[in-house]
Amino acid sequence: MKNKERLKRTLWVLFFLLLVFTPIGILIAGPSPSPSRSPWLDVSVGMGFIGLALMAVQFALTARIKPLKEPFGSDLIYHFHRQISIASFFLILSHPIILFLIDSRYLRFLNIFTSPLYTKLGVLAIFLLISVVVSSEYRKKLKIPYAFWKFWHGILTTLIVGATLIHIFLVGNYLSYPLERAIWIGYTAAWLSLLCYTRIIYPLKLIRNKFNIAALKEERGTSWTITLHSVRNKPLHFKPGQFAWLTIWKTPFSDTEHPFSFSSSSERPSEISFTIKDLGKFTSTIKELKNGQDVYVDGPHGAFSMDRYPDTQKLVFIAGGIGITPIMSMLRSMLDRHDRRSVKLFYNNRDWESVTFREEIAEFEKKLDLQVIYTLEKPPQKWDGESGYLTEPILKKHLPQPWIQDDTAIFLCGPQVMMDMVAKQCLNLGFHQRQIHYELFNLV
């Protein structure tokens, strides 16, 4: 990783810490409390303030602000968002729990019919927060559809932060300090601006830069490639391996987008394509798209790209099923760039008939310094290639010692179970963790 990128990361981390801990820092430096005030009351207040600051910052993390996403990669940001949200949940939850422990009379505030407005809002925020955490952590087990979850996740988290901000302003404790009040007014204004940007300005930008479907092509393996043209003839520059959020059938205001990797060459930014496998409710509608139909493209995003590691001399691509799409983008880009670096492609599929892009990959073998190793779970008769899943002996057989060097980079894309397994196998072969690149999108 370049030093410039490392510096950007460090600056973002410092800025994050500053945002989260400034309000409590001001309180610590402020005047001492009256001796009669229980310090545990202030522990509770402190936990609440830090928890709220952490939660408000989540809106910036998920707002797809490019300068913030680029140094880290979208998947890392989303993983961090998930983990830090759970931490902020426990900090906020500890606020009422400590209150109840120090004085059971606070329990009467749980009766929202008799309690004052500020406690009503506090109780509402806590219950909504519990529902948001449970629905996010157990979405699949609870069988909540992704689009439904995503829509309500946005609404509920907005309500939570809104209710909590009003709660702290109404309680007024410590906000009588001018600096503390100014900080929280500033945070509220920043949060409202961010909401306005993500919910109104950003969707409007996407509508302004909309794309049309130029072609729809069926591929092997129940997959379809959609090719898009910018209505304003504005090329979309991306790095091979990156992805975009697509909104189809609805407008960007509906907040029902889905992430897909670019499958086209990055050298052809005026004609972008995505290859999508029929795997679920949304992806099963791709084949019904018509030429000329509007598609809204939010991208590029992601750090999964060979272009981030320009000093690499040898490339190992490992794909499972439709995980071939970002790798196709890298191979097509290599062809367009006349890139003659050595490439090994391990491509795992169920059977030979469902190997997406197999004819084009055969062409690449003639034009690039590429060797393809197919592994088939159900190979046909007279198959002389590898059978079953991709295993360590298969990797070892096709990656001799000259490949296990520092100038080799491995790019993995496929089902999460496969990526976890293959990443471990690569480590066993002698590769370093920094040489293995993948993105995890199975977040909720």
Binding site: V13, L17, V20, F21, I24, G25, L27, I28, S32, P33, P35, P39, W40, L41, D42, V43, V45, G46, M47, I50, G51, L54, F72, G73, L76, H79, F80, Q83, I84, A87, F90, L91, Q433, R434, L440
Partner: protein, 31 residues
């Protein structure tokens, strides 16, 4: 590896948060 670093950063923030809340509460005794 980056995911592990992210996880450790979350633990670090949580620990600092608890320490800051305690420092805030007991600032009078520490002064």
């Amino acid at each position: 590896m980056q995911y592990q670093k992210g996880k450790r950063f979350v633990y670090f923030i949580s620990l600092v948060a608890i320490l800051m809340a305690l420092l805030f509460a007991f600032r009078a005794s520490l002064a």
